[in-house]
Every structure is written in C-alpha cells, then in structure tokens.
Subunit: 210 residues, 4 copies
Amino acid sequence: MVTGFDPFGGDKINPALEAVKKLDGRKIDDIAIVAVEVPTVFHESIKAAVQAIERHQPAAVICVGQAGGRTQITPERVAINIDDARIPDNRGNQPVDEPIVPAGPAAYWSRLPIKRMVQEMHKAGIPAAVSNTAGTFVCNHLFYGIMDYLERRAPQIRGGFVHIPYLPEQTLANHAPSLSLEMIVRGLEICAVTAAHYEADVHAAGGAIS
Amino acid sequence: MVTGFDPFGGDKINPALEAVKKLDGRKIDDIAIVAVEVPTVFHESIKAAVQAIERHQPAAVICVGQAGGRTQITPERVAINIDDARIPDNRGNQPVDEPIVPAGPAAYWSRLPIKRMVQEMHKAGIPAAVSNTAGTFVCNHLFYGIMDYLERRAPQIRGGFVHIPYLPEQTLANHAPSLSLEMIVRGLEICAVTAAHYEADVHAAGGAIS
Amino acid sequence: MVTGFDPFGGDKINPALEAVKKLDGRKIDDIAIVAVEVPTVFHESIKAAVQAIERHQPAAVICVGQAGGRTQITPERVAINIDDARIPDNRGNQPVDEPIVPAGPAAYWSRLPIKRMVQEMHKAGIPAAVSNTAGTFVCNHLFYGIMDYLERRAPQIRGGFVHIPYLPEQTLANHAPSLSLEMIVRGLEICAVTAAHYEADVHAAGGAIS
Amino acid sequence: MVTGFDPFGGDKINPALEAVKKLDGRKIDDIAIVAVEVPTVFHESIKAAVQAIERHQPAAVICVGQAGGRTQITPERVAINIDDARIPDNRGNQPVDEPIVPAGPAAYWSRLPIKRMVQEMHKAGIPAAVSNTAGTFVCNHLFYGIMDYLERRAPQIRGGFVHIPYLPEQTLANHAPSLSLEMIVRGLEICAVTAAHYEADVHAAGGAIS
C-alpha cells in the first residue's frame, strides 16, 4: 500500500499523489499495489491512512511526500514526535512544537529496508539516498503517526516514508532540481517490491527501536 | 546538425553524445537532424565541427555539452575568446588565459533563438533557462570557434551552444541534480526545430554583435 | 561548558575546537564558560565529555561540531540512537547501523532552548536556524551519548548540540559557504548565555521526550 | 576609486555601498582610496561613475555590486553588451535584450589583475574566485559602460567589476550563504591595492581584448 497527499496550497495536482496513482493496481510477481489518497492535514492524514491499512491489511505501507529541493528519492530513516509548522496545512492548522502523540516516544525508526531500497534503486540507475530527517510538517507527522499505529496495533506490518523531488514541470520558473515522473514511479515501484520482500535493516530490528 | 563531445576523463560514455546520437536521422516536418561526434580537445573539436558543417551544409548548428550541477537545459547566450582550463583535455592540453582566435573579438553572441528555445521547452514541461556563461573549457572553446567560423565563412547558418545537466545514472553517488535522457533528447529536439524555424533573438541581430 | 572535537582526518586544526577555545574562561554576567576538547572517536568522545561534566558540574553543556556546507549556526533539535559512518573516525572505527546505547530510546530531544538561541542570534545579526538532523557520525553520537547520560544521571543539567559552518579559510578552493570565526564565536557565546538562562523549549519539556 | 550602488528595491542599505564607504579615504602605502555612490539605474549609473572618474582621475576603478547567493568575492572577467532585466531598476526601467552601447563590441575584458586579486585574497584567507558572468542587470551594465569609456577615453586607467556575497544580516530568514562585512572590506582593500600595483592578466592585454 502506498499513500500520497492531496493537492496542497493553491496547487491543482500533487506530484506525490500523481506518482502513487500510477502505481495503483500494479501487480509485480506476487505483489499487488494499492494507492490511497490522504489529506494534507495534521491528524486527518493519519486517520485516513490508518483506515486504509485496516481495510486493505497490506504487508507493507509506504507513505510518499514531496521534498522540494532534493535531487534524489529519499527513504526516511526516522520519524520524530513533533509538529512544528512554518505554514498552515489544508485546514489552517499550524502547530508549533507540539507532540504528535503526547505519550509517544521521541522517535520511531522506519520499518522499511531503507538501505536495500536505495541499493535497488541505484541498480536501476535512479538517484536515491537515505535521509535522516522528514522535517516537522505533515510528512513527518503522518510518518510518525503510522509508525506509532503499527507499533501498537499491527507490528507485523512494515511501514515507513519516502520523499520524492519536484517534477520537472514544477521547476520551469526556478532553478530547483527535479526528477521525471517516470523515474519517480519506477523508483517507488522498486521501493514497494523491496519493502514487500525484505525486513527492515538490522538496526531497526535491534534495541535501538526502543 | 547537432554535435556532442566524445567520452572525457575516465568515463566510458558522454551523455551529450548519447543524447545527440538519439537525434541522429530524426525528421520533424521538413527538418532532418544529423549528429556529429567531436573530440573533447581544444582546437580539434572546432576542426571536426567545421568539417561536418562543410560536408552537411546545415541550416543550423547546435553544439551540445554537459554542465554538471545545472538543473536545466541551458542555451548559451555568449561565447568568449579565452581558454582557461582547470583540467587537461583529452590530449593533455591545459591552456591558461589564452585567446582562442588571437585576432578575434572578445565575444560572439549565439545565433540561435535562445529565448524562444527556452519558451518552447517550457511549453513542453522541460526545465530550461538562458545561461550567460559557457565557462572557459572546451565547451566555450567549441562555441566560440564555431561562431567565429560562421561569422567569417557562413553567415547564413545559425549556430550556438546548449548545455545539458547530468543524467540520473551519473548522480547515484552524489547529490547533484539530473535530468532524464528522454527529457534531454526531447529538449534538444525542440531546440533543433526552433533553431531551424526562427532567427536569433533581436538583440543578436542588432549592433550589439559588433 | 562547551566541547569541541580535536582535528580530524588530515587537518591540523578543527574549527569547532578553535571556536570553543576562544570561549574558554570567558565570563558574561554570572556565567563562566569552560571549553573541553574531545576526540573525534566513537564512544571515547562521550567518555571525555562525561568526565568533564563530572569535573566541572556545569549548568549547561553545549557540544559543538562542524557541518560543512551549511550556511548558518544550527542548534540541533534531536539526537538519534544510531551510528552510520561513511568514513572512519580518528581511531579507524566505522560502525554501520549500530545503536549507540543498545537499550536506549530511539531519540533524545535537545535540552537546550534551541528556538530562543536562534532568536537571540538573529537579534545579533547572525545567520542561525534550528536543524532537525545532526547526521549519523560522531557529532550525533556525542550528542546522543551526552543526552543519555544527562537523562539518567544528571537531569538538572541542560545539554545539546550546535553545528557550525566552515570557516572562510576552509573554502578557498571550493564554493562552499562559510562564516567568520568572529561570528561563530559570538554566536556560540550567545548560545551559552541563552542556555544558562533559559530552560528548553516547551515541547522538549513535555510528553514528547518519552 | 571604488563605486557602490545606492539602496535598491525596498532596502534601506546596500551592502556594496556600505563596504565601499568603509574604504573611503583609506591610504595603504602610496594608494588612496576614494568611494563613489552610483544609482542602481541603467545609464545613470554609468554617467555617475564616469563623472567621478573625470573628477578623481584614479589609477584604477573597481565597481562593486552584490551577487546574492554567491559564497565568494568574485572579480568579474568579462562585461557583455546587453541589458536583459528580470526586474525594474530604481527608475522603473526594465530593458530586455537591448545593447548597452549600440555600436560597441559584444564584450570587454576586465582591465584588472583578476587572477592575482584572487590569489592575494586567498593568501589573506578570504574566499574568492574569478567569475565568468556579471549577469545582464545593472551590474553588468555599469561594468560594460565603464570599460567602454576607459577603452575610448582613458586607456591608461585600469578598471573592472567585483561581485560580493550577501552580508550575514541579509540571510537570517533564508539559507543563503554570506560573508562578513569585515571580510568583504578587507577583500576589496586587497583588490584595490592589487589593482593599483599590477596590470591586467596577460590575456586581457593581448589580441583577445576586442
């Protein structure tokens, strides 16, 4: 299962959503991908994703968001328990330094094989790297919320977050880097297949999880 | 006619060459594209391109080179009469602050419709911008040499230079921006068609050329 | 108390160390600053810093390290429980995906007033911003180790980590951004005074700490 | 003689002007520096600088402007004969692809010892590099206009342009690189002394000039 955020700010499309929509219904070997749209709203995004998890009961969940300015597809290593928004979400919420889950731990590791996902994307010629921060806006929020849900309710399901760069058409008027939709879709497909077949990297299975 | 440099340094392929090869033989409307390989060597590159111009008698010449680190396809505005190499070329030449054509003017404007090329690429969703410097290595050298030849021998032929970003597979191990080969090829095709159909922007036709 | 790493790699000086040395012995109002050198070595760095804490019993500890490529002084928000080294430390250790404290939590928040430190630096005209990642090398390692020590042994002491940019003389041969030693020293002094006078931002005092 | 532009856009100060003002009246060995303010306006800037040249009869003229986003002090190599403004100047002029001097050559080389200026700044620990483009706004406009004047009326006077980065206080709210005012002033002083003592680099004295 992959999730993508609905359009945000004044934009008519959200590239993360466009990318995951292209994956919806794809079958690779024994894996079937289902795409889910989630709102760019604090808390509602977690609710929508959790409902979809409970409905689809997937082997793995990959939430996808955009990180404008990055040059690579970046599986995130860690979600932190804080909302610190520089701009409002799609409902006007703008939390500053608030915990996502008041009684939750400071951070959750991704439960995806992030290093192997990067390796597999590199084999396919796709720029990719592990990232150590998903920020403190709705992306990190959803990431943390999903990891918290999986930790407490569905420890058998793998889950995590992958950031993608701008699409080329978003960068016409600036000098920001971009990656083509085709390459992003191929990269996310590789992420999905890798996540279905492999457990998280060793470190995430160890005591470091907390 | 489009030119691309042969592999440089220890590399086995040169993306500029790969891109222009894909264009070789293409026919769009009344335009036929021919691709020519030139060596990454001071002076020899100019010789090879001039010979090809005399053989093919094209309506327009677009030389293509790579500008690692750029995010967009960048038609160059101006070629300057200087070689200032930080690394040796493929024959070991490393000129420092030497004129390309000792009696030549300080600079030549591109004779391509660079603004319109950028507009047409934008319409197609391709990141593009006019650049004001082609550097001082073999790219600028070939650009200047071709413009000098056209100025003196073939003023009816349009000509200029376009820089392209890295390909994705060149950026796996770093954080440099890239553009897909498909998008680069599409961008160069648009450049070629635009160059065949339109004269250089007004400024380049005016007194500023000298 | 401020700490700085000893020279690393082939370098003869470490700018973080140079900066904190300038602060050694300074007295501002009722605050006395003491500087401590720590080795750029996994685990040994933590040991050296802990020994100094026990000797000096400071009100606050600020560990300082260099983040080449950054443009601002960046107080770090969170330390994560993982070592993932792309290069060896000064003793040749190169851990990959290993927990720093096997039974420790995934992350610790900084116990410094990081937002206020940024505000105070801005008032003084110094480029500064909160950072959400201290990386996964010795900087994050020391940060996590110190927070773990303070959490368990000295909860009354404030502590955290601040990354600084390159010094100008380190960037002569490249195009990396830098900040002058004078400005870095002034920025760290402001950090020290602010840390001594104010508690951590509210979020870090709340349930989010875990 | 050094020139700096007056405040531009809504800004109350212009760092280039602040920097050159600090140099006004300084005497180093046998060199006396005089600073001149010029308006950020097409053509008027050239007029003001030319009047000051005729009044002061300096051995060398260094025009200084800001290039936000650069990390180093960058002596410019070449001025090109074109105005292509993306925003209006201080009088609302916004020329697009117009020649600065209709009958002038496409470009003029700097008549300053740009390589040696960079070397001397490096010796003093100041980030510096030769730049190959001064853009197409008022900076390049003044640069070209001054070089055109010197070429035709005062060939014995050395002249050129140096771009400087943002000051730290301009970058508080963004992530742009900066250099301290002290370092910029020291760098410009070195440029002035070097320009007074040395002729332009060999290439600029050769046939390549025009």
